[in-house]
Amino acid sequence: MFARHRDRLWAVAIRTLGDPEEAADALQDAMISAFRRAGSFRGDSAVTTWLHRIVVNAALDRMRRRSARPTVGGDEEVLDSLASDRSPVSDPSGATDTQLDVMDALRHLVPDQQAALVLVDMLGYSVADAAGVLGVSEGTVKSRAARGRAKLLPRLSHLRQAGPPSQEQGNRSAGPRVVPAEEGGDDAS
């Protein structure tokens, strides 16, 4: 059954953590944990949800540990410098957001919001399914996802839109079209 779910579970882990090594470690931790806790699994509940929950929790644990590590500062600086190197150029070919862009933006969210966006927006799970995996109500999932998107948008908006061509074509230097009032001009520098 792991074989049946591994791609999906991997998708959750890599999107939550961004780094393949960490995602692999998280998935391994999760599977061993699942193996140990198999005795407490109730056979008539959906094993898929159960496995997802274990993987999400393993990934979130790693994320929290990572953000609790003060030494991560160097890493953060590297990412920031990469991000700022890139934004003036603004990815001229850029029809899509890169993994690095998105992970950089996502890491500014609290883990709960990030997990909701990974499941609902990135992987397309229904709110109900995401609620089952996360062990919270559907309302909570919606709220976390909405807050996450609101925080994410300013960080993504300096990148080219993945969607249909913008009406403001050719006017990139004017900055993003969507900027919250209090953060206006943030990306225009």
């Binding site: 059954m1 792991f2 074989a3 779910h5 591994r6 999906r8 991997w10 998708a11 890599i14 999107r15 393949p20 391994q28 599977m31 061993i32 193996f35 140990r36 198999a38 005795g39 407490s40 699994f41 109730r42 056979g43 008539d44 509940s45 959906a46 094993v47 898929t48 949800t49 159960w50 496995l51 997802h52 899509t96 957001d97 993994q99 998105v102 609902v120 927006d121 990135m122 397309g124 229904s126 109900a128 399914d129 609620a131 089952g132 995996v133 309302g139 919606k142 709220s143 996802a145 909405a146 807050r147 998107r149 609101a150 948008l153 908006s157 993945a162 969607g163 969507v178 919250p180 009032a181």
Partner: protein, 318 residues
């Protein structure tokens, strides 16, 4: 013109999470504000943008690595395996908007049922869950709790205090021994011993027995079988021989009798040996002799032993 709405409010608006009055105020503002309308469009784009991001596929060796990690884990634990029953195993999380199954999972709090075979092992079935192998162990000092008198499960052993837990304390007793308790009773097997027909319950563990660790794994399986028997509900229906073994109960009985050759049979474990379905049989060789563990393949029967591996088990002091 009313005040611009914050991104957060707009995101809640899109999600349908605003109260009706607030939502209608936002709606009327949006009708006349291109900036906020643009924000709504951008917010609506986020799922698409996020879902379009490419991530690396699962590393080719990761499945193997995880399987090896679990094999290592399983050599220190003996758990029982059972093919997933019911629909849970086939139920995938549907894409957005499909099913409400997930909502039910809140209620799926983990119920303690250690004595029974958890459904989970089968996720690992590809390489680990040992459904098909049987291990037979025999040895004078290895009296095992799975022996039956007349069809009822009896603790049958006087050597180990762990088997004397009354059924009522089952839940409490299960508290600490997750792995060793997860043994599933298998079909009854009758064999000839001292001229009498004797019955033993086989067990099913997820152990993948390996040549180098056969002895140690057999000892763990014996121990787990004792604990497992103590936790088995009286009247629990023994499973039919798992279909994965590919052998009938009758063939299994013939096989066990054949291997035992008059000796006492202490354990029959439908498990795996080197990744393949096999039966692990432990037999005792008299009051003072060592036990012997045999791993036999699916061809084992009354006329063919099909022994894949065998090792002596030293007697252990009670």
């Amino acid at each position: 013109m009313t005040r611009h709405a914050s991104l957060k409010i707009l995101a809640f608006y899109i999600e349908g999470s605003l109260r009706p009055r607030r939502a209608s105020r936002v709606a009327s503002h949006l009708a006349g504000c291109s900036r906020c309308t643009g924000s709504v469009q951008d917010l609506r784009q986020i799922p698409l943008r996020l879902s379009n991001v490419a991530f690396p596929p699962i590393p080719a060796n990761l499945t193997h690595r995880i399987e090896m990690a679990i094999v290592a884990e399983s050599t220190t634990r003996v758990t029982a395996a059972e093919p997933l029953s019911g629909e849970a195993s086939r139920r995938d999380l549907p894409p957005r908007g499909a099913s409400q199954d997930g909502a039910r999972q809140d209620g799926a709090r983990q119920e303690r049922r250690r004595w029974r075979m958890p459904g989970f092992s089968s996720p690992l079935a590809g390489s680990l869950a040992a459904v098909g192998a049987a291990v037979i162990v025999a040895g004078g000092g290895y009296e095992v709790a799975t022996h039956l008198g007349s069809g009822a499960t009896s603790s049958g052993s006087s050597s180990s205090s762990t088997v004397h837990q009354p059924a009522q304390s089952r839940a409490a007793a299960g508290g600490g021994s997750v792995a060793s308790g997860a043994v599933r009773p298998g079909p009854r097997v009758q064999f000839q011993h001292d001229g009498k027909t004797t019955t033993i319950f086989s067990v099913t563990t997820s152990t993948n027995f390996l040549p180098v660790t056969l002895q140690a794994q057999a000892q763990k399986a014996l121990q787990a079988a004792r604990l497992g028997a103590a936790k088995t509900l009286p009247g629990a229906t023994p499973a039919a021989v798992p279909s994965a073994t590919g052998i009938s109960a009758r063939q299994l009985a013939g096989c066990v009798s054949n291997i035992a050759a008059g000796r006492n049979v202490l354990l029959v474990d439908l498990a795996k040996y080197q990744g393949n379905p096999a039966t692990i049989i432990v037999v005792g060789s008299g009051p003072s002799g060592p036990g012997v563990v045999y791993a036999v393949g699916p061809a084992c029967s009354a006329t063919d032993t099909d022994v894949l591996g065998q090792q002596n088990l030293p007697r252990t002091a009670p």
